[in-house]
């Protein structure tokens, strides 16, 4: 029992990331009908927003402190971050410590802009082209973005820690009445899971309860009619692209303490996210979220030693195996609509 709960918890954080990326992919696909292979790159850009902010905040100047001596007896060089000198040492170090959550504030406008620029500058010209062309051009864009990031940040993973308050683990088992130290769950993963729930909830609420969202949903169902009603649906879809990019970016920002960002993390997540989208059903937002969590949890179950002992290698292939089984038994994925992407 405790092992099962532990594995479910372990699967949730990965599942959250899958769900967020797949949600963005589905938003883009459902609104614009574009298969966006650069979505993994957007996830990566989000992660590197966090890296840049934490580096920016740590920018410091060096002063020579005559009162302190280092081990050679010379005056000690003291590095003081600009932030600390502006806001005072306590608030300043707190700001540096909280760089990753603060990066959310930076990421939202950056990603909205990136998404907007991508849609207006590139994707717009590909609405009427075949899906293969869309895949190829966004794949090319993903390579370009990846290489640009590699130039600025290098090829090695950059560790970006969570705020010190969230380092460490929560003894989750005690809350449920198990013995201590049986179910231990890192705080940050819990934060990530809750964060993703908030984002997912916000996106759904936005689509469900605002006039704007209503128009977008109408446009997803029948774009032409909405256009005939005199609504500039393109403009709204462009904004939705920006929002989808922001969702991917936020997923990336908050994921940095779990996985040190490197330039190819986008590609690593991209394929899995596509599998998630297809398993959930192309064009279905709830399907994407459901499939994301489902595959995340299944993956963590498959990596249990007990299960690996029965079926060796299952942890490596479980996602693909599930995808194959679901696609063959439920042709449109878990919650897919009829006639989407079938020709």
């Amino acid at each position: 029992m405790d092992a099962i709960i532990l594995q479910i918890l372990n699967g949730l954080d990965k599942g959250s990331a899958y769900a967020l990326i797949a949600l963005g992919l589905t938003l883009i696909f459902g609104t614009l009908g574009v298969v966006n292979f650069a979505h993994g790159a957007l996830f990566m850009i989000g992660a590197f927003c966090a890296v840049s902010l934490s580096r920016l905040l740590q920018l410091s100047y060096t002063t020579i402190d005559e009162t302190q001596k280092d081990f050679l007896g010379k005056p000690l060089k003291v590095e003081t971050a600009y932030v600390e000198s502006w806001f005072g040492p306590e608030l300043g170090s707190a700001i540096i410590d909280w760089a990753v959550p603060l990066a959310i504030l930076l990421t939202i406008p950056v990603m909205l802009f990136v998404g907007y620029a991508m849609e207006r500058g590139l994707i717009k010209h590909f609405y009427k082209r075949p899906h293969a062309d869309q895949i190829l051009v966004t794949f090319g864009l993903a390579i370009v973005l990846q290489e640009v990031i590699k130039y600025f940040f290098g090829a090695n993973p950059i560790p970006t820690p969570a705020p010190s308050a969230y380092v460490g683990s929560l003894d989750f088992g005690v809350m449920l009445g198990f013995d201590p130290n049986v179910i231990i769950y890192p705080y940050w993963r819990l934060v990530y899971f809750l964060f993703s729930l908030i984002i997912i909830g916000a996106v759904f609420a936005f689509l469900q309860f605002t006039t704007f969202g209503m128009v977008v949903r109408a446009g997803m169902a029948d774009r032409e009619t909405v256009g005939l009603l005199g609504i500039d649906i393109d403009k709204r879809f462009t904004l939705m692209f920006g929002i989808a990019a922001a969702v991917a970016g936020l997923a990336g920002v908050m994921y940095t303490p779990i996985l040190s960002p490197n330039y190819h993390m986008g590609m690593d997540f991209l394929v899995l996210s596509f599998v998630v989208v297809v398993v959930g059903g192309m064009g279905s937002l709830p399907g994407a979220v459901l499939a994301g969590f489902l595959l995340g949890v299944l993956q963590s179950f498959a990596s249990m030693n007990e299960i690996k002992a029965i079926i060796p290698g299952i942890d490596q292939i479980i996602i693909y195996l599930v995808a194959i089984v679901i696609l063959l038994t439920r042709p449109r994925g878990l919650m897919g609509r009829k006639g989407v992407m079938e020709d």
Binding site: D133, V137, V144, Y151, F274, Q316, L328, E342
Partner: protein, 397 residues
């Protein structure tokens, strides 16, 4: 000739001539000139041209004709490589049984995967093939380590049984060969300042690639090819006329899987080493890119695409900043450093960036691939001649 009409025969002869003269055509610059680094006529690269060209031809039979976009073709390449290396280990270093087994095994593998995947179409088919290929890749790394030798990769060893020619080895690792002709033996022709490498392995690959090209030419022109095209243009209508398209698409899938397996076998024949990374999804993506870059559904496009990508990969990645400084040394110093900095981002380590940018440019401006670009230039050239004719005639009237 060869069951082709006149135009296709001519086309085939051109392709044969081009492949046979490749070592010469790709070395247009004298060996000691500054441009020699653009020479692509060295054996390892030419072999890759032929092998990946062959693979792209096969992929084009599936994707170009039926429109089914497979994202898992690298799996067949990998399986072919493993099969060929096992043949080297167990039977003999002769390449013929190795590539035959590679083709057959890949064909069987494709039959199984195709039978399941072809139940779905569109992106679902792509994801199914992708899932199968990733599963093969991951299993090759983990569970199948006894067969695949995991991360180290499968290699030949001195103590392999090699039933037919096991005794022939004398302390050194044997080299794959064709009845005694070693695949890595190279005959270098020095002609003045030029030098051309005539490599046995390349010519072996080239002959097989030409045969593969001929096969695909026949398929394109056959009723079977017509049927595949019909599947691409409207599968529903085919079904409504009471025709079951599945056997045709499955046949196309298996054929293109066998091409990929053959290519994998040849890769192993050139360098008897097989690793799982050949099966990764990026490798599958590369074949898709080659085909689309060259021109989907055209006969010659995939070969151009394969050559283009392999050329960029090998040549651009070799250029470094010093070479760039040499090139731009005629510029004023301040300008030179800026220009060199700019171009240095695109070469060496950054050749992926070049690749990405080129993809985007080609997809945006030349949806039909490089072949379409060539046709456009040819058409423009012809029209220009015509309009000049008109221009000269009109005043006379």
């Amino acid at each position: 000739m060869f069951g082709l009409d006149k135009k296709d025969t001519k086309f085939l002869w051109i392709v044969i001539a081009l492949t046979m003269l490749t070592p010469i055509l790709l070395n247009p610059f004298p060996t000691d000139s500054g441009l020699a680094q653009f020479n692509a006529g060295y054996p390892a690269l030419m072999q890759r041209f032929a092998i990946y060209g062959l693979m792209a031809i096969g992929f084009n039979i599936l994707f170009g004709l039926t429109g089914y976009l497979s994202f898992g073709h690298a799996a067949f390449l990998g399986v072919g490589s493993y099969a060929a290396v096992w043949m080297f280990k167990l039977l003999s270093m002769n390449v013929i049984p190795a590539i035959i087994l590679a083709t057959v095994v890949a064909g069987l593998f494709a039959l199984v995967i195709g039978y399941i995947s072809l139940r779905r179409s569109g992106i679902y088919f792509s994801i199914l093939t992708l899932a199968f290929a990733e599963m093969s890749y991951r299993l090759a790394y983990s569970v199948f380590t006894p067969i695949t030798n995991g991360e180290t990769g499968l290699q030949i060893k001195l103590d392999d049984p090699r039933v037919l020619d096991g005794a022939a080895t004398d302390g050194a690792l044997p080299v794959p060969g064709l009845f005694g002709l070693n695949m890595n033996s190279t005959y270098t022709v020095d002609l003045g300042a030029w030098s051309f490498d005539l490599n046995a392995g390349y010519y072996f690959c080239a002959v097989i690639a030409v045969l593969g090209f001929y096969m695909s030419l026949r398929i394109f022109r056959s009723p079977f090819g017509m049927m595949l095209r019909a599947v691409k243009s409207n599968q529903n209508r085919m079904n409504y006329t009471g025709l079951n398209t599945r056997p045709y698409t499955l046949a196309a899938f298996v054929i293109s899987g066998m091409y990929a397996g053959l290519a994998g076998g040849l890769l192993a024949a050139m360098d008897p080493l097989a690793g799982a990374e050949r099966m990764q999804w990026t490798a599958s993506g590369e074949v898709v890119l080659m085909t689309i870059l060259g021109g989907v559904g055209t006969l010659f496009g995939p070969i151009i695409g394969a050559g283009f990508i392999k050329y960029c990969e090998n040549i651009f990645s070799k250029i470094n900043e010093n070479i760039l400084h040499d090139w731009f040394s005629f510029l004023p110093d301040s300008l030179e450093s800026v220009v060199v900095w700019f171009f240095a981002r695109f070469v060496g380590e950054g050749w992926h960036l070049t690749l990405g940018v080129l993809f985007m440019l080609i997809v945006i401006f030349l949806p039909g691939g490089l072949v379409e670009g060539g046709q456009r230039i040819a058409a423009w050239y012809r029209n220009r001649g015509k309009s000049e004719d008109k221009a000269t005639k009109q005043p006379a009237e």
